[in-house]
Amino acid sequence: MTETAQVQGQERAEVWVEPISEVGQYSQWKLMRMRFARNKLAMIGSIGLLVLYIIVVLAPFLAPTDYMRQNADYVYGPPSKLTFRGPDGKLGLRLYTHPVTTVLDKETFRWMYMPDKTKFEPVVLFAKGDPYTLFGIIKSDIHLFGTRSGMRIYLLGADSLGRDMLARILMGGRISMTVGLLGVALTIVFGTIFGTASGYYGGFIDDMMQRLVELIQSFPTVPLWAALSAALPNISEEFTALDRYFLITLILSLVNWTGLARQLRAKVMAYNRADFTQAALAAGASDARIIFVHMMPNAASHIIVVAALSIPGMILGETSLSFLGLGILPPLVSWGALLRDAQNLNTVLMAPWLMIPGIAVIIAVLLFSFLGDGLRDAVDPYSI
C-alpha cells in the first residue's frame, strides 16, 4: 500500500462517524449538509460571509458618517489616532481621540495633519450623526460610534475629497457583495436554459449553442466585459448609476454562463439515456415535465456548485472593471471603484490606506472560494 492510499484510508475512517445503518436512511440533502458542516474551511466561509452580509446591510449604521460627506480640511488624511489614555494620563476603559490641526509642510508643500495631544475627545457609542435609512423604512441618525461634538473620526483614513474610507468601504461592500450574487442568479438562468435545451434536444440546436459557447469562450474575458460596458450609455436622469450597476451584472453573467451551460449539457445528455427518463417518456410525460420534474432536481446540486464556484470570478471581474473606470460609476461606490483612487504610485505612497478596499476584496473572494470548494466536496454524499 502506498503512502497516499494509507492517508485516504485514514480519512475514510474519520469520516464514517455515524453507524452505516443510519446513514442509509438519510436523504441526499441531509447527507450533503452533514458533509458540508464537517468541512472546516467551508464553515469558515459560510459564517464569514454571513457576517460580511450583515455588516454591509447595516453599513450606514456602522459607519460614523455618510459615505458621500466631504471634508476639505482632511484631504488624504491619515487614520485617526485612538487611545485609552485619558486626559489624566491614566489608562482607562474610555476611548479618546485627538482633534487634528493642519500644518503646511514647507518642504513638500503638502498638508500635514498633526493630532493635538493636549486635547481629548471621548469616543461614544450610539452617537448622533448623518441621517440614513435602513431597509428603506427605518429612518435614523444614530451611528455605532462617533463623538458628542460631531468631530469626525476616520478609522481608515480619508480619500481625495476627505471622505471617510471606512464608510466608503462599507457602502462599496453593498455593491461588490451583491454583484456576485445577482450575477450568479442570472448565470444560473442563462446557463440552465441554454444548457438544458442543448443537452435535451441535441441536433441542430445543440450545434448552434455549442458554437455560441465556443465563440464567447474564445474571447479574453476582461477585455470583452470592458468592451460591452463601454457601450453602456452615460449616466443621466434616465439612466442612473443603479441602472448601470444592473447592466454590469448582466454583462458579467452574459460571458459567465457558458461554463455552467457546458456542464449542464453533459449532465442532461446523461439523463437522456437514464431509465427514469425513458420511463417518464413511456408514461407520456411532456418535455417540460421531464425537464422540470425529473431532470432539474437531479442536477440542482450540480448547478449550485458551479454557480458558487463562479462567484469569486464575478467579484474580481467587477473589481477590475470598476478599477479601470468601466464598471460602477459615482455616486455609487464599489471596492474596485475605490481602488481607482489608488492607481498611481505616488498617491499610494502618500496615502497607503487607499488600498484597504483591496483587502476587503481578497477576504470576500477567499470566503466565497472556501464556500464553493466546500459545496463541491459536499454534493457527492455517496462518494466518500
Partner: protein, 329 residues
C-alpha cells in the same frame, strides 16, 4: 494527424468569421455615429475640417449606408490591413498597435513559461511531500494567489520594490533607454522591469496550475505502473520525473486554452497599473473615449492570438497523447 489538424483549421476559420462579426457589433454598439461625435469634438476644440474631408470620411466609413454594406467595407478593409482610423489619435489603427501587440504577446508567452515552470515544480514538490509544512505553505499561497486581483498585486509589489530597492518599476524600460536601439544594456534594463508584470500576471495562473499539477500527480503516483517502476528498483527521481510527471502533465496542456485568455486579461489590466507599452492602456483608453475602431481591432487581434494559441495547444496535446488523435482523427 493531418486530417485532425485540417479539421481544426476549418473549425478555426468559422470562429474567426464569428469573432469578426462580434468585433463589428462592438464598433456599432455605442449610441450615435462615432464619426459625428468625433467631428463635434474637433469642432468644439476649434479644429478646422472642411466639408470635403467630412464627405470623404463619411464615404470611407459608409456612415449613411445600410448595416451589411458597412460590415463588408470594414471586413474587406481589415483583411487588407486597413483597420480603420483611430479618431482620438487621428492615425490609422495599424500604425498604433503593432509594436504594442508584439510586446503584449511576447510578455504573455514569457508569463506562460514562468507559470508552467513554477507550477510544475511546486506541484511536484507538493505531491511528493504531501502534508509537509511546505505543502501547507503552498496551499495557503495558492488560495491567496487565486483571490488577489492582478492589478492589486502589481500595486503592492510596486510599492514594496520602491520602498526596499528604490526602483521605479513602471514601463518596460527606464526613461533613459526609451528611445535607444536595442543593445545589451537595454536588454538588462528590460529584464529589470519585465519580471514584475510576469510575476504579477502569472501568480493567479500559477496558483491554479500548481493545484491541478499536484492533484494529477497524486493520481498518477497511485497507478500500478509507478509501483512497478519502483519495485524494479528505478531511482525515485526517475520514477517521478520520467514516469509520473509525463503523464500528469496532459491536463495542464488541456487547460492551456483557458489559461491563455486569463493571462491576456491580466496582462491588459496590469499594463494600465504599471504603464506598460502593451495594448492594455491603449485598449481601455480607447474604450473610455469610444474610439471603437482601435478598441475592436485590439480585441480581435488578441482573440486571433488566442485562437492560434488554442490550435497549437490542441496539436501539442495530440502529439503527446495518442488517445486524442486516434480517438478523433
Amino acid at each position: 494527424m493531418t486530417g485532425y489538424i485540417l479539421r481544426r483549421l476549418g473549425y478555426m476559420a468559422i470562429l474567426i468569421v464569428l469573432v469578426a462579426v462580434v468585433g463589428f457589433i462592438i464598433i456599432e454598439l455605442p449610441p450615435g455615429s462615432y464619426l459625428e461625435v468625433e467631428l463635434d469634438r474637433i469642432r468644439a476644440l476649434g479644429g478646422d475640417i472642411n466639408q470635403a474631408m467630412i464627405d470623404a470620411l463619411k464615404q470611407q466609413y459608409g456612415v449613411d449606408q445600410p448595416l451589411h454594406i458597412r460590415f463588408w467595407k470594414w471586413l474587406s478593409g481589415f483583411v487588407r490591413g486597413d483597420f480603420g482610423l483611430s479618431f482620438e489619435y487621428w492615425t490609422p489603427v495599424s500604425k498604433l498597435i503593432w509594436l504594442r501587440l508584439w510586446y503584449t504577446i511576447f510578455t504573455s508567452l514569457l508569463t506562460l513559461v514562468f507559470q508552467w515552470v513554477v507550477a510544475i515544480f511546486i506541484g511536484v514538490y507538493s505531491a511528493t511531500h504531501r502534508y509537509s509544512p511546505l505543502d501547507y505553505l503552498f496551499t495557503v499561497l495558492q488560495f491567496i494567489g487565486l483571490s488577489v486581483p492582478a492589478f492589486l498585486l502589481a500595486l503592492l509589489l510596486m510599492v514594496v520594490v520602491h520602498r526596499t530597492l528604490g526602483w521605479h518599476v513602471s514601463g518596460f524600460n527606464s526613461p533613459e533607454f526609451q528611445d535607444l536601439p536595442w543593445n545589451w544594456a537595454k536588454i538588462v534594463d528590460f529584464a529589470k522591469h519585465v519580471w514584475l508584470p510576469i510575476v504579477v500576471v502569472g501568480a493567479n495562473g500559477t496558483a491554479w496550475l500548481s493545484r491541478v499539477m499536484r492533484a494529477n500527480l497524486l493520481d498518477v503516483l497511485n497507478m500500478q505502473y509507478v509501483q512497478t517502476a519502483r519495485s524494479k528498483g528505478v531511482k525515485e527521481n526517475v520514477v517521478i520525473w520520467k514516469h509520473a510527471v509525463r503523464n500528469a502533465i496532459h491536463p495542464l496542456i488541456m487547460v492551456l486554452g483557458a489559461s491563455l485568455p486569463a493571462i491576456i486579461s491580466g496582462q491588459l489590466i496590469v499594463g494600465v497599473v504599471l504603464n506598460l507599452p502593451t495594448v492594455g492602456p491603449l485598449y481601455f483608453r480607447a474604450l473610455m473615449n469610444q474610439d471603437m475602431y482601435l478598441a475592436a481591432s485590439i480585441l480581435m487581434f488578441l482573440t486571433f492570438a488566442l485562437l492560434i494559441g488554442n490550435l497549437l495547444a490542441d496539436i501539442l496535446l495530440a502529439i503527446v497523447d495518442p488517445r486524442i488523435r486516434l480517438g478523433e482523427g
